[in-house]
Symmetry: C4
């Protein structure tokens, strides 16, 4: 017995495979330790998303133990993995999916340098061209919010809605990133930590040279439009499959 149409079942399975695999990228780039961090992906054509189970190690993640939730963050019972609890950040992911319909993926980590900026409540200034390409300006700080209600989700949405950046550093907590797909959100998480690390190191050794705003704008515009392969979703480039 299946709960959904064959098309939706197929879409769910694809997202399960992608989300399980993409967690490996968090490990590869050193963004997570132990069971921390989580990736989710929206199921195209359905009010559903797939997310990591809570407190399960990265070596043990499979398409089958990913957890299917509705957009309120409630586990869809009777589906693969539904006997386990979803990530403790599930409510925040769900809030983002409900309020940002173009978002297809959400990632949360406690990656070291991004958390360091978050502990000071300081946005990351855009002083390197790679950051201009990827984020189109600074990476902003979101409000202090703790688990228990919608405050984390609301903080993410309020900060990123209308912002070029796909990454927000939640105060004293860490980065959440969004993307058009789960892979795009994972890429944003990788590039966010890369920017956080590079600008941290640059600044500790002396004054930074700003990039003129019109150059930032030009770099961002080009990157959104021409990078990667024709026919690719721009933001999904480079994902191994």
């Amino acid at each position: 017995m299946t709960l959904f149409s064959p098309d939706v079942e197929a879409a769910i399975m694809q997202v399960r495979v992608d989300v399980a695999r993409l967690h490996g990228e968090l490990v590869r780039y050193g963004l997570v330790v132990w069971t921390g961090g989580n990736v989710s992906g929206r199921v195209p054509g359905a009010d559903l998303f797939v997310i990591k189970p809570s407190g399960v190690g990265y070596d043990d993640l499979t398409a089958e133990n990913m957890i299917l939730c509705d957009l309120d963050g409630v586990v869809v019972s009777g589906t693969s993995g539904s006997e386990r609890s979803p990530s403790s950040d599930t409510a925040a992911h769900a809030y983002v999916y409900r309020h940002m319909p173009d978002v297809g993926g959400v990632v949360h980590t406690h990656s070291t340098f991004a958390v360091a900026w978050a502990a000071r409540g300081e946005e990351i200034p855009c002083v390197i061209t790679g950051m201009a390409d990827e984020f189109g300006g600074p990476i902003p700080i979101g409000p202090f919010a703790i688990i228990g209600d919608d405050s984390i989700g609301r903080g993410i949405v309020d900060t990123l809605r209308g912002h070029r950046s796909r990454a927000v550093l939640m105060l004293n907590h860490g980065p959440f990133t969004i993307g058009v797909t789960a892979a795009d959100a994972v890429k944003a998480a990788v590039m966010c930590e890369d920017a956080a690390r590079t600008v941290h190191l640059a600044r500790e050794a002396g004054p930074l040279i700003p990039i003129p705003q019109e150059k930032i704008d030009a770099l961002y515009a080009r990157y959104q439009n021409v990078y990667g392969q024709a026919g690719d979703d721009r933001r999904d480039d480079g994902v191994t499959s």
Copy 2:
């Protein structure tokens, strides 16, 4: 000929397997170099614990060459591995097991950032939510103590008894962590270094924003109670097996 009842023999074997495997997590997270560092685990239902042999490389650790000790830290002769010497920190582990009956695992490393705080005798302030979750406040400094008597073990116990933190930074030396199981103590060692590194980097770039005490309390309370999968020992979540 076996020395113990079949139940105790089975429990010993399980702890041997766990302790040998958990040393690999110290390597995975870069907490140890060469033969430094050690994990031990208490044998449930017996006054025994299992610990790493002294001066043996991480590639060569097996369930069979782990060493079985009584709670005075004396090797149980005639058991697997007993022809070798146990870790030179065995007396400290034994002291903890004797004086903290709820402790099921102890870990010691010289992980880089934790030792850096220890060399300044400075506790790690709790300015990130991940640290509030895991340690419920700052990670404290223990006294200066050197091998040769009970002073290391006593320093660990005196510092951690009644403290939320499962990690102590022994002055000029390095971290010891405890847990309800060996896996829990290893998790604490991983999270201790993660906190030490992140807060070090955060602070070197400017003033830190404190987290209000009641928020720290709320995060710690939640994490002790609801994180991970129902039915899991909270502190044993996420261990691959």
Copy 3:
């Protein structure tokens, strides 16, 4: 049907194999994340070079999907991989090959410490003998330039022509390195990041001791002439194949 003489076809294939493989060295030494960074190699005896496709992950690079370009950076249609777009830095590579006939390889990365110096517009002083060996003095800063015309290529050539250094840090952007072969340029990228990291860390802890210029000259002269195996191209030593 082949487009070139058998000799040139064989040379192209050899450069494809080398360039695909050498991208793995960027990963090994942590110089790149996601799909960033690129290596190219000139085809000996032809006005051609081989470069990475744009936005393709490092796990997926093969000799076959490397892209063959002429010295204007135009993809040679009908050749293996030509259905994809070449690296977005292709114009800069092409400019270097047109204007520096002795250059056989070009590499670009956003490696962390090199970018940190670039964000301050500060050359890396030559205070360690390994840097004197490899670069014969400081690693210079190039101008600010963004993609869209010849300004990046011109900045590289104007900075490195007649300079001992095979690495330039383009302002607010990152390192480009050149070499007599693609392997030599990759070696320069690895050693540039190593120097950038080491001198960053050295200087943050106190004043550096300069190396007398005549000692730098002597080290550089020796390294160009006697290091490595007799019969090796000096700059191609140590490449695993």
Copy 4:
């Protein structure tokens, strides 16, 4: 035809195997990049040592391509690998073997943090117990010396003779370490970088707490005598084989 007695041939082969393998430890602990760094080992019972060939990549090192030299650093012709040049640091290794008869192994790297101290000409203070165990006090600075005569070897010997430390940081250059075996010298190289990194990070965040000299003495004395397994050479513990 063999050049040596069967016993010496067997000893040479054992040292070749050990030295080739031990280079892998330099890679494992991130002490070297590209073809930099070298390990040598004295052949017990003969005036010979085995060293890395110059400019060969770490993936390509085998017992067979290690190079056999006499104590003047001259390659023994007709032996395996003798068609290649030995490490460009061979003269320094040879000088050490000639002047320190108890030394059985020598290692040289450009490991990052050790070189950073060397670029400031600053000895590493002994503020952590792991350093007291291993080096018995500070790690000293050696003179500025460049390749071309005996000055590097002489600087090593003059600094380390009668010193507890098995590591010296040659000014503006990097660490050389010695040991009773090649494995012991490699261990010293690993622990030297670990100490250099930890004390660098400790000090950049505030004042360090000194360890009383008599405690350093006690730790060093204990470690020389009781660490590791009975019957082991103390300094050879923990080497996987």
